[in-house]
C-alpha cells in the first residue's frame, strides 16, 4: 500500500529518487595456482538524480559505463553497495516483489516471454501472476494488441517470432499490469528502421495517454531524439550530463559546420576565431564554428566579402558530441544544462 505520508510527500516531484548510489563489485582473479587477487570494480560511482512522474528519460553511455547496473538496482535485481534509492517510495532491493507490481521492464537482449509457448499463453500467465483484474486485463490486452499490431502473432510460439515482433510482444507484456514506470534496456537494439519507428511512436503514445514514466537505455541516439525530453549521460560509473538533449551541444563544446558555396574557387575565407575553415573543395568551403554561437554573424561576414551563392548549416552529430565529451571529461561534476528544468 502506498498510502503512507512519508512516501507520498513530494512524490509529485520525484517518482524515482537516486541519492549517491554506488555499486561496487568484488572481482576475484586467479593468479597462479592458489593465489587469488581481489580487487573492486566501481560500476556505479555515487550517482544522484530524480525523475518526476511522467518524464521520459534517456540514459546513455558507452558499454560498461554502468547503465544496466543502474537499471538493475532500480528494479531490485541488484542491491546497491551504498546510497539511497527509492522508486514510488519503495526500496527496490528490499521489497522487490512488491515493487514488481508497479514497474514494467523490457530487456532488449532477452525476453520476458516464455520462449516455447504461444505469445498469448505468456499474457495469460502475466494476468494471473500480477493479479490483474479481468476487465482491466481484457481492456489492456485489446489495446496493446491493436497498438502494437500483435493480432496475428498471439498463437505463435515466441521462439518463432522475428526480433521486432518479439520486442513488440515484450513491450506489451511489460505494460499489461499498468506499471507506473517502464524501464527499457536497449529496446531498439537489432531492430529494422520500421520497427524502431513503431516502438518509439508507441512509447510516446503510452506516455501521453497514461502518464507512464519511461526510462530507457540505448546506444541509438535517435531513440533519445524522438522519445526523450531529458537525457542522462553516464561514463565510468559517473553521471556526466543530465539535462535537455539540446544542451548537450554546449556542454560538449561541439561545433556546427557552415557550408558555403561561392561563385568560384577562392582561397580559404577569412573568419574570426574560433571559427575556421576546415575543408575546401572547389568553390565549396566548410567553416566550423562553436555550436553555441549563432550562424548569422558569420554568414553576414562571409556574404560581405565573398561572392556567396548558397549555404547550409550542419548540426553537430550527437554521437560525436558525446564522444568528445567522454574524451574531455576529467572527473568534473555532472553538468546541468541551462535548458533543463
Amino acid at each position: 500500500m502506498s498510502g503512507r505520508m512519508g512516501t507520498t510527500a513530494g512524490s509529485e516531484g520525484a517518482f524515482i529518487e537516486v541519492d549517491r548510489v554506488e555499486k561496487v563489485f568484488d572481482v576475484r582473479r586467479r593468479k597462479g595456482l592458489l593465489r587469488r587477487e581481489r580487487h573492486q570494480v566501481r560500476a556505479v560511482d555515487s550517482i544522484s538524480f530524480t525523475v518526476a512522474r511522467g518524464e521520459m528519460v534517456g540514459y546513455i553511455g558507452p558499454n560498461g559505463a554502468g547503465k544496466s547496473t543502474t537499471i538493475k538496482m532500480l528494479t531490485g535485481i541488484l542491491t546497491p553497495s551504498g546510497g539511497r534509492l527509492r522508486v514510488a517510495g519503495i526500496d527496490p532491493s528490499r521489497e522487490r516483489t512488491r515493487l514488481a507490481h508497479r514497474i514494467g521492464v523490457v530487456f532488449g537482449q532477452r525476453t520476458t516471454l516464455w520462449w516455447d509457448l504461444p505469445l498469448i499463453d505468456s499474457y495469460k500467465l502475466m494476468h494471473r501472476m500480477y493479479r490483474i483484474p479481468d476487465a482491466r486485463y481484457r481492456e489492456n490486452l485489446a489495446r496493446l494488441v491493436e497498438l502494437l499490431d500483435l493480432g496475428d502473432l498471439l498463437e505463435v510460439p515466441v521462439r518463432q517470432l522475428s526480433l521486432g515482433q518479439r520486442m513488440r510482444g515484450d513491450i506489451a507484456a511489460a505494460l499489461l499490469h499498468d506499471p507506473e514506470v517502464l524501464y527499457l534496456d536497449e529496446p531498439t537494439i537489432g531492430l529494422d528502421v520500421v520497427s524502431k519507428t513503431r516502438v518509439r511512436e508507441f512509447l510516446r503514445q503510452v506516455n501521453a495517454e497514461r502518464d507512464t514514466t519511461v526510462l530507457l537505455t540505448t546506444h541509438d541516439l535517435q531513440d533519445i531524439e524522438q522519445v526523450c525530453s531529458r537525457v542522462m549521460v553516464i561514463d565510468q560509473g559517473r553521471l556526466v550530463y543530465d539535462g535537455a538533449l539540446a544542451g548537450l551541444h554546449e556542454v560538449g563544446e561541439s561545433e556546427r559546420t557552415l557550408v558555403v558555396d561561392l561563385e568560384r574557387e577562392c582561397p580559404p575565407v577569412e573568419v574570426p576565431a574560433p571559427a575556421r575553415v576546415v575543408r575546401v573543395d572547389g568553390p565549396r568551403q566548410w567553416v566550423a564554428f562553436p555550436a553555441s554561437e549563432p550562424a548569422a554573424a558569420l554568414v553576414t561576414r562571409i556574404a560581405e566579402r565573398y561572392p556567396l551563392v548558397d549555404l547550409s548549416v550542419r548540426e553537430p552529430d550527437i554521437e560525436a558530441v558525446i564522444a568528445q565529451m567522454y574524451a574531455e571529461r576529467a572527473g568534473r561534476a555532472p553538468t546541468r544544462s541551462p535548458q533543463s528544468s
Binding site: 531490485g76 522487490r96 516483489t97 537482449q109 520476458t112 499463453d121 500467465l125
Partner: protein
C-alpha cells in the same frame, strides 16, 4: 510460502496445458521414460539371475529398496526437475527476468518446464514397489503400513531439498550442474542397493552428512525386519520426516543466501 505455491501451480499448470497440445508425443515420451528408467531394474533382475542374494538381501527386498529410491526421486524430479538448469539461466542472463516478476523466484525456477512426462519414473517405481511389497516376506504391522508412504514422501522431500540446495550453489558457481547431478542421480542409484554393499565410511557419510540413508535404507530396514545400517536406534526408521524437514529448511536458507548474493551478468 502460500504465494509461492500459488505461483508454482500457476506456472506448472501452464506447462502442463501446453504440453498436452501434442498428445501423441506426450504418450510416447511418457512411455519412453518408463522403459528407459525401467532398464535399471532389468539390470538388477539380470544380476539376480546369477546370484540368489545380494549382501544377504533377496530379490524382492532389493526391489523394495530400488522402488522406494526411484519413486521418491521420481516425485522430486517431477516437482523440481528443472532446477539444475538454473546455471544456464544465470549465464545467459535470463535469470534477471524472474527477479522482476511479483512472485517468488524459487517457484518460478521450480515450475519452469514442468512436465508430466516425468511421471514415467514414478509409475515405473510405483509398479515395482507394489510387486516388492507383495513378494517380500514382511511381517506387516500398522506402523509398517504407515511407514511405506511416509518413507516415499519424506524421500521425495529430501531429494527436493537437494535440488534446491544445488540450485542455490549454482548461483555462486554457474557450471556446477554436474556436481548437483552427482548427488541427485548418483544418490538415487546408490540407494537402489543394500547399504552393506558399500564401505562403512560412505554409509556414514550418507547418513550423517548428506542424510540420503533416510530416503529408504533406514525405513526399509524396519519394514523388512533387517538390522539398521550403523546400528542406528529403533526410532531412526521414523525419523525420515524430521530429517526431510531439516533438509528442506537448510536448503531454503541456502537458497535465500544465494539469492541475496546474486550479482547478475554484465549487460
Amino acid at each position: 510460502m502460500v504465494e509461492g505455491l500459488r505461483a508454482y501451480r500457476m506456472i506448472a499448470g501452464m506447462w502442463v496445458r501446453s504440453g498436452m497440445t501434442y498428445r501423441t508425443s506426450f504418450v510416447f515420451t511418457l512411455f519412453g521414460n518408463l522403459v528407459l528408467t525401467g532398464m535399471d531394474f532389468v539390470g538388477i533382475l539380470l544380476m539376480f539371475s546369477q546370484v540368489d542374494s545380494l549382501a544377504g538381501w533377496s530379490l524382492p527386498e532389493v526391489a523394495f529398496l530400488y522402488a522406494a529410491s526411484v519413486t521418491s526421486f521420481g516425485l522430486a524430479h517431477l516437482a523440481a526437475g528443472s532446477m539444475p538448469q538454473l546455471g544456464t539461466r544465470i549465464r545467459d542472463g535470463s535469470f534477471d527476468v524472474l527477479l522482476v516478476r511479483p512472485v517468488p523466484v524459487l517457484a518460478q525456477v521450480g515450475g519452469d518446464r514442468f512436465s508430466l512426462r516425468r511421471l514415467g519414473r514414478v509409475v515405473q517405481g510405483g509398479a515395482v514397489l507394489g510387486w516388492a511389497l507383495v513378494a517380500a516376506d514382511v511381517d506387516w504391522t500398522v506402523a509398517k503400513v504407515l511407514l511405506v508412504p511416509l518413507m516415499v514422501v519424506s524421500g521425495a522431500a529430501i531429494f527436493v531439498a537437494l535440488f534446491v540446495a544445488g540450485a542455490a550453489f549454482q548461483i555462486y558457481a554457474q557450471d556446477a550442474a554436474e556436481v548437483q547431478n552427482a548427488f541427485t542421480y548418483g544418490g538415487t542409484t546408490m540407494l537402489q542397493y543394500p547399504p552393506a554393499v558399500f564401505g562403512k565410511e560412505l554409509v556414514r557419510g550418507v547418513t550423517f552428512v548428506l542424510p540420503l540413508a533416510f530416503v529408504n535404507w533406514v525405513p526399509a530396514a524396519h519394514v523388512l525386519g533387517r538390522p539398521y545400517p550403523l546400528e542406528l536406534p529403533g526410532w531412526a526408521a521414523f525419523a525420515s520426516p524430521l530429517v526431510a524437514a531439516a533438509c528442506c529448511a537448510l536448503a531454503g536458507l541456502a537458497w535465500r543466501t544465494g539469492l541475496r548474493s546474486y550479482r547478475s551478468v554484465g549487460s
